[in-house]
């Protein structure tokens, strides 16, 4: 018998093992839900699958009586817009700040301690300030994402820029590049796929800030809906919403990964060698 650490599952076994936890959770839920509902048909904590179907139908397929809109579609598009805008602004800011910070010693000397200190400020603690300054509108919510995510991206990009091998930067200088053209032709193109990578990692954080901001002040949005229906203990709405948010997060991550491969075909090969 080989050591456990040397045993490798076949493809089919690996797939089965991967699906197994989902199946266990699913079965466990159905059994637990049935048990609770048998005891008390009005139990709200673990709704049956049929009440999920009803809730999805009510939220996603039937127009709201009050506004005539599909609440679920509204919520999703509002949240995705905030998230997309927040992350996009953060990414642009990260490039504008992170590259000079990693590349120009004078900028690093001047700004590095400041950025390090700034990134220690807990964004949720300044959320009230954002609401006071930007009002309760869209701006405050987007601003929270930007404030929460930008420092993480900046520090990561700064690190990545300073990891570009000195050999490459010297070579570029011997080819006649100036600081500016080297940023444009060497640093920026090499850093772009790494920006995509760090956006993927920080997306989880961005979701946290989005849902928190929506929970506190919003009139639509996925986070808003979850916190609204919490008052009625409407698990039949909350759980599908959570599943949907998880799915969205997964899809965004997947799309970013795919577009990194598509846009920067050299990147995976270069990474393997390191």
């Amino acid at each position: 018998m080989k050591r456990l650490m040397n045993l490798r599952p076949s493809k089919a076994t690996a797939f089965f093992l991967g699906v197994l936890p989902f199946l266990i959770i699913g079965v466990f839920y159905i059994v637990a839900s049935d048990l609770r509902l048998a005891e008390n048909p009005n139990d709200k904590l673990l709704p049956s699958l049929s009440s999920f179907a009803e809730a999805v139908d009510r939220m996603a397929l039937t127009p709201s009586k009050r506004t005539g809109e599909l609440l679920f579609v509204n919520d999703t598009s509002a949240s995705l817009q905030r998230l997309g805008l927040g992350v996009l602004i953060s990414a642009v800011l990260a490039l504008l700040i992170g590259i000079p910070l990693g590349f120009i010693p004078f900028v690093r000397a001047g700004l590095s301690p400041f950025v390090a200190a700034l990134s220690m400020v807990p964004p949720m603690a300044i959320l009230p300030i954002l609401f006071i300054v930007f009002g309760m509108g869209e701006l405050a919510k987007v601003a929270l994402i930007v404030i929460g995510v930008t420092p993480l991206l900046v520090r990561d990009l700064q690190q990545r820029v300073s990891e570009i091998p000195a050999e490459q930067l010297i070579k570029a200088q011997t080819l006649g590049g100036s600081s500016w053209t080297i940023v444009l032709r060497v640093v920026l193109p090499q850093i772009m796929p790494r920006l995509f990578d760090s956006v993927r990692i920080t997306l989880g954080t961005a979701w946290i800030f989005l849902i928190s901001a929506e929970a506190i002040a919003a009139t639509e949005g996925l986070g808003y809906r979850i916190f609204l229906v919490r008052r009625y203990m409407a698990m039949d709405v909350i759980l599908p919403y959570v599943a949907w948010i998880t799915f969205l997060a997964f899809m965004i991550d997947y799309l970013l990964k795919k577009s990194t491969q598509k846009l920067f075909p050299w990147y995976s090969g270069a990474k393997e060698k390191e």
Binding site: P165, E167, T174, G176, T181, I182, R185, Q190, W266, A270
Partner: protein, 256 residues
């Protein structure tokens, strides 16, 4: 006038003397190989030629003028690692060389200039044997091919000196022999001036037209950094058998 003029050159880091009292001229068209034990300052010397380091004191002239104290277009370099840009294809790497040289704002060329650069790029790639891999990315190339590309990238801008920092150290022996043939061929055809650091003695004799040996002459066991390295042997290398006789003569002279 010599291409490189060095007189009484010292390099120190604080109390640590790396090179002392170096005097040497390098003429246009020479192929100098630098050898010596590790820590003897040959890499520091190359870095000074490159502009990465400055001499502490002494005369250090390129074409009669003071060396620019940062890497510049007069000097081409091929490193052992990270010598090409991985985000660009083989063709893109060579184009980048000309684009960085010619275009000061966008770092890109357009129109007739681009067409000309394209022609030059393909020509040099053909010359280094990469004519059939122009659209590949560096990660798809072998180590030897990457070094070919790095050489092409430097040569296309026609530097006054080509500096080689152990460029073939990481290659297999067979491929290394191919690279030797290539660099000698390019050296003769383009009348290059080459300064190469290597730790392979065979390579240094085979390639160089002049061999410079760096070593410490004086040693103080209580203060190993008190004395720096000097050029202990400066051996002109001719063809074939004359090499060994000259070598013996020089060594004997050195021993006396």
């Amino acid at each position: 006038m010599s291409l490189i003029t060095i007189k009484n050159l010292w390099k120190e880091y604080g109390d640590n003397v790396v090179l002392e009292k170096l005097t040497l001229n390098i003429e246009k068209g020479e192929f100098c190989t630098l050898v010596g034990p590790s820590g003897c300052g040959k890499t520091t010397f190359l870095k000074m030629l490159l502009g990465q380091e400055r001499p502490t004191r002494g005369t250090f002239l390129l074409d009669g003028e003071i060396f620019p104290d940062e890497p510049s277009i007069e000097r081409g370099i091929v490193f052992q690692r990270y010598s090409v840009f991985e985000n660009l294809t083989v063709f893109g790497n060579v184009m980048l060389a000309m684009e960085l040289k010619e275009s000061k704002f966008l770092g890109r060329l357009f129109g007739a200039k681009k067409a000309q650069a394209k022609k030059d790029a393909l020509e040099i790639l053909e010359a280094v044997g990469l004519g059939s891999s122009v659209n590949k990315y560096p990660s798809e190339l072998s180590g030897g091919m990457q070094q070919r590309l790095s050489i092409a990238q430097s040569l296309v801008n026609k530097p006054k000196i080509l500096l080689l920092d152990e460029p073939f150290g990481a290659l297999d022996p067979g491929i290394r022999a191919d690279m030797h043939a290539l660099i000698l061929d390019l050296w003769k055809k383009h009348n290059l001036t080459v300064v190469m650091v290597t730790h392979d003695l065979h390579e240094s004799f085979y390639l160089g037209s002049r061999l410079l040996v760096f070593d410490k002459v004086r040693e103080d066991v209580h203060a190993p950094n008190r004395y720096g390295a000097k050029i202990t042997y400066d051996i002109p290398i001719g063809d074939g058998e004359t090499i060994m006789t000259k070598l013996h003569q020089t060594i004997e002279k050195g021993e006396k």
